[in-house]
Symmetry: C2
Subunit: 213 residues, 2 copies
Amino acid sequence: MTEPLIIWTYDWVPAGKSGPRGHVRDIRLRWACEEAGLPYEVRSVPFDNRGPEHFLRQPFGQVPVLQENGITLFESGACLLYLARKSEKLMPRTPRGEAETLEWTIAALNSIEMVTVPWWFIGLSNNQDNPLQGWVVQRLQHLEAILTQREWLAAGQFSVADILMSDVLRVPKVMTAGDFPALRSYIDRACARPAFKAAYDAQMAHFAAHERA
Amino acid sequence: MTEPLIIWTYDWVPAGKSGPRGHVRDIRLRWACEEAGLPYEVRSVPFDNRGPEHFLRQPFGQVPVLQENGITLFESGACLLYLARKSEKLMPRTPRGEAETLEWTIAALNSIEMVTVPWWFIGLSNNQDNPLQGWVVQRLQHLEAILTQREWLAAGQFSVADILMSDVLRVPKVMTAGDFPALRSYIDRACARPAFKAAYDAQMAHFAAHERA
């Protein structure tokens, strides 16, 4: 069976400076599909009223959800690791290459995003004395040391780990935490990829198509 | 080759009420090995002076690190998913069972621990007005709804997802965020497993063996 993959996202999200448009996590899955040439369709769940049917697919009421042939997956990181098995463009096929892709994918989720997201969230209502400031700077400094020495995180090639890490880092304000030239170039490198641009444009078009009056 | 797995942890960590002893993340790997009957050896890195050699293994200077036949992995979540492929006791072998184990492992890292760890960290220095209070309660309520209906998270059996989620939830104070009877029973169920007890005792003995005067 070669049915297309199905990616679920919201029908609409707010736009604007700190609105999530352009950053909703379905973009991670779209990006992976674009890199690997995997056909996909997008379906929508109402942003305002997600309802019990959506909670059956995603117990925390979020997006994305990935569906394929009776398999339903939530958590963007899990979806990326699932998609990674479909193409060497997303993860090399050697045991060592798979291990490196796996560890850096999890590092993006649990060593970086675990700190940047709460730091960002607290910063929305508190511009001074963010209690997570020291922690976020320390984590980004460790990552800066790594990315000063390499182009991509895992196995000497672009992989789903880079989709995840660059998407975590490009969130507005994260780079204001300190001076991180290697991280800035890494974000630029990742976002210059045609597959990122295609995914980004597709997400923006999707939300614009459901624009509210 | 059947060389034992190597798990790296610290030589020593502080004990006491909020000390990490009993909660250092090597316990997640020990627990998985005990569940599956996988032989493992433990090696130590100095807690106080981790040195450049350790940063080569773990770019954020943390533990655990897992080694096997030339493969070196950091991030406890990555190590658990790597170990999961070795035994049906850690992850069922069906595509659906693998997908469910993967999504719940990532959910433990990125939907629960991403909120509980910063919430806990902020609470150390601020007992009132924790800016993450509403968020942690909401996430735990969603998880409570799931665990009211099932014994284990994924695929109708105990898996690495439960090792991770119960280890995230049993951190002191997390259950003081609200009233979560299903989560409390889940933690009790997980910690009553002989493999958890073996892993916990082994970690405590390891740190006690390097006790400081």
